[in-house]
């Protein structure tokens, strides 16, 4: 089960993902991210501090938007991952392909850098 909330703040979409993202719930993440493509928000920041579990279905959704957000000049950042969730991203080397930072302040830098 996953609970996803979106808060639009000026140029940023702050998305909170809470719970587990697996083969059952990943569609909710997909629905949420698909709505952020081509919006006027130049930062899509995902708060993962309450994300307790992610499987390949969730990773697959995140991966499928890397190129899309890039093509639309939108910065895509994940922050606040627990050690065990971050480890799953690291196992595939996704930490090299995605913006993954520790804090909200660091995520905000991506907006300010634009």
């Amino acid at each position: 089960m996953v609970k996803i909330e979106i808060q639009i703040e000026d140029k940023a979409a702050w998305i909170t993902v809470e719970g587990d993202i697996d083969a059952s719930s990943s569609i909710q993440l997909d629905d949420c991210l698909s709505k952020q493509v081509k919006t006027s928000q130049s930062l899509i920041a995902i708060d993962c501090s309450e994300l307790h579990y992610i499987s390949s279905a969730g990773l697959g959704v995140f991966m499928s938007y890397i190129e899309e957000f890039k093509a639309n000049n939108q910065q895509f950042v994940l922050w606040g991952l627990s050690e065990k969730v971050k480890n799953v991203f690291d196992m595939l080397g996704l930490n090299q392909l995605m913006n993954i930072v520790s804090t909200k302040q660091e995520a905000l830098k991506f907006l300010n850098e634009k």
Partner: protein, 135 residues
Amino acid sequence: MKNSIQINCARENLAKVRQFVTESLKSTSLSEIEVNTLVLAVDEVCANVIIHSADCDSKKSLKVYTDIKSNQAIFEVIDKGIGYDLRSHKMPQLSDIIKSKRKGGVGLMLVQKIMDKIDFIPNTKGNIIRLIKQF
């Protein structure tokens, strides 16, 4: 302690498998990160069976067995669907998946990275996927 669980082949039941595997590893001295990776590997195999072998038919079921010892964990996922030999799965390139915007394809890659040995045993009574991890 109970060492098996049976679920109907619906994706919503994956959480039950994860809880079962987490419980079964409580007697070990594995860290939270290590437990999570083993839970992930079993979850990925079950998701694969539910989607590809059982075609998400909730009238079908699968069973997960655990055998946890001090130096190794063995997990068996058994189903009566069409079966899928994980060992023959060709690993895609991560860059190709990202370029194609595909939303799947990395689950078995994770299982191979996590587990020391993966066996597929086709059987008339059910296909067995056996995952072995040495500590």
